[in-house]
């Protein structure tokens, strides 16, 4: 393609990317290295239904002056990145010096919000992603082997979990696994323990979130793999059969290698998706047991506090996390690309 043709062809996309991806990123980076100005506090008298009282409040006029002179806020460099709510450099150092064993160190680390969130997020990502790929492939192979008459219906039913809005899906399950819900009671009966509660145990809550994650994302893997199976080279399968390959050997040596690019694609998308796990934590009211980086951002932005700088910093850390997670895959793609050219 000529360079000028390419330029005009790419321009609209480039502009959209600049506007919707690059600018917001720049804004997040800027926000994460600035904090609000120091609040000018004054003592005033507040009156209301319960009488009058002297209280501290923010002097809006003085604060506005500060804000107008430097609208971005106070430049603090990487301070927020290193504070207790994020990488917690000092706290980690003290934990390292004061703990005698690895488990003591990890215990102290688990007490810091960022590391607690990372522990759950990584566990979630690295259990859900492989399981859902295997499950998706199994469903795809199963459906592909069905007779044409029932195929449409089965495909529709297997897609349902993905169609349900994540928040709604997790809320429905949340009530079903309640200790008075249908699944919760069934589990109590099976375990012969009337006090068993999924929601009160950290381990079981993690398990529940992981099962939910697989349930919700497996249809996506299934659809992609099913589409891939339609392009299967029949002659290869046939020759494998003639050579006496069993069904398992056909899958292992013909089908999976054929689907490999798709498996990489699903893995890539799902790693990113699962790393920013959020809705199930809200839907399952699980924040006492499991927190993720996205949940921390949500919590920072909510309520009466609105810690914009903290939220921006957590966003940056999420982006770094995704970049690190994807780097092996991206590296491979780059190698492939170089090999081809």
């Amino acid at each position: 393609m000529k360079h000028s043709t390419f330029f005009w062809f790419f321009l609209p996309t480039g502009l959209a990317m600049l506007l919707f991806i690059a600018f917001p990123l720049v804004s997040v980076v800027l926000q994460s290295v600035h904090t609000p100005h120091e609040a000018v506090l004054v003592e005033v008298e507040n009156c209301g239904p319960f009488g009058c009282k002297k209280v501290t409040t923010i002097d809006q006029d003085a604060t506005r002056e500060l804000r107008n002179s430097e609208p971005l806020g106070k430049f603090v460099g990487l301070d927020i990145y290193f504070d207790r709510g994020h990488l917690a450099i000092t706290e980690v150092k003290t934990a390292w010096i004061t703990s005698e064993s690895w488990s003591g160190f990890f215990n102290k680390l688990g007490n810091l919000p960022f590391y607690r969130a990372i522990a759950f997020t990584l566990t979630f990502t690295f259990t859900v992603t492989p399981i859902l790929i295997i499950l998706g492939l199994t469903i795809a192979l199963g459906v592909n082997a069905l007779s044409e008459r029932v195929k449409g219906l089965v495909i529709f039913v297997s897609l349902l979990p993905m169609i349900v809005t994540p928040l709604i899906g997790s809320l429905i399950l949340f009530w079903m696994i309640d200790s008075r819900g249908i699944l919760g009671t069934a589990i109590q009966w099976l375990a012969a323990d009337p006090d068993l509660s999924l929601k009160a145990s950290t381990g079981l809550t993690w398990l529940m979130l992981i099962i939910y994650g697989v349930w919700h994302s497996a249809p996506f893997a299934f659809v992609v793999f099913y589409a891939g199976l339609q392009t299967l080279p029949m002659d290869q399968i046939e020759s494998a059969r003639i050579d006496g390959a069993s069904r398992w050997e056909q899958v292992r040596y013909v089908i999976v290698p054929h689907l490999m690019p798709l498996i990489m694609f699903v893995a890539l998308i799902q790693l990113m998706d699962n790393f920013r796990v959020f809705e199930p934590i809200v839907g399952f009211n699980a924040e006492a047991h499991a927190q993720s980086l996205s949940w921390i951002i949500f919590n920072d932005l909510g309520g009466e506090t609105r810690q914009l700088s903290a939220a921006a910093t957590s966003s940056m850390l999420t982006i770094f996390g995704v970049a690190i997670l994807l780097s092996p895959v991206l590296w491979r793609t780059w190698q492939d690309f170089k090999g081809k050219s």
Binding site: N46, P49, S179, G302
Partner: protein
Amino acid sequence: MYLRKLAIASTLAVMASSSAYACQISARVSVVGNEFPAIQTVGKEAQACSGAEVSTNLTADHQKINVAGMSGNPAEYTSAIIANSSIVALMNNDVIRPLDDLVAKHGKDLQKNQLITINGKVMAVAFMANAQHLVYREDVLKKVGIEPPKTYEDMLAAAKKIRSSGMMQNPVGGAYKAGWNLAQEFNNMFLGYDGSHFKNGSAQPNVNSDAGVKALEMMKALSAYMNPDFLTHDSNATNAEFRAGNVAIMNMWGSRAATLVDADGVSDEVKNGMNIAGPMTVGGGSTPASTLWWDGWTVAKNVSDAEAEATFIAMMNGIDPSIIKDEDIRKQAVWLIEGYTPTDAARGVFAAAQANTIPYPMLPYMGLMHTALGAELSDFMQGKESAEQALADVEAAYIAAAKEKGFL
């Protein structure tokens, strides 16, 4: 049943038509606020105004959206219904306007104690008072031969008796959901033990103290008599447990207690057995382990004067003294509206006010403390760490946040 519905419908119709005549506005009104019965009533009455559109967005997530929705210019919301905790966020971000001129022009009927005055300027108009207090099952307590508890120690003893009688496995209810609710229950207990959140007049935290540890230990002792899922139960879920007859004693919001058993499907046993009393004290103290609240409305700063005036008129119509002529509405809250006489359902909140319950602290950095408490206390409640460690974590989390926001 049919007759009752008919009666309600016709009263509503009469009220709607009567207020429609009274209320004329000429500019857009848009309200954001919490959702519980009294606020829904105010929203509905404000919408009775004619001449321009009055829209309401009443949701439990109102605190997540009101500052953002009022920061733009022009602001999306012309009014936010808030409480003494959440007005602080609006003040901190400077998104609400002083109402003195509008009060002079349209608010002559307001009583002095409805005007929330900060530094001499009226910033909000309060319409109801609220507090958490005891809600209990009289029939159950009678069966085990116990008086309604006046202290949390009594509550524990009652819980023990009810459990051993075999009537209920987990007789204590509590909105202990990790986050805002859990932090609020800590605040109650902490103030009951005469704790104070900050060191004298500064933003330095002061929760890692004797009072803090005692408060946490009491909460832990109570949680042993709660549904094991208590860390996921907000006040809606706790009320559901009470309605289902699974809970006999709980600390509950006055604004929710009044209409607690009006839902469909509540058994007669629960309906007739429910009763309310004032808040409990703890640890031999005299200050109730509870906080006093008011709910009121504000007017946005970043809207035109015409919209601000329309909003004021519509909201005044929302809290018009005529609304409490309806018996169902009268009992929805402890109204601060002229002509209100307390109903039976208001006893708990009144008792709280009379017992010198402390109003929820209206400090610019209290929200940060509340968030830190909500995030860090659940580890202790699950038995994963000591009370001292949990409170040290709270202070560390608070300090990090307060430094970022420029308070320390």
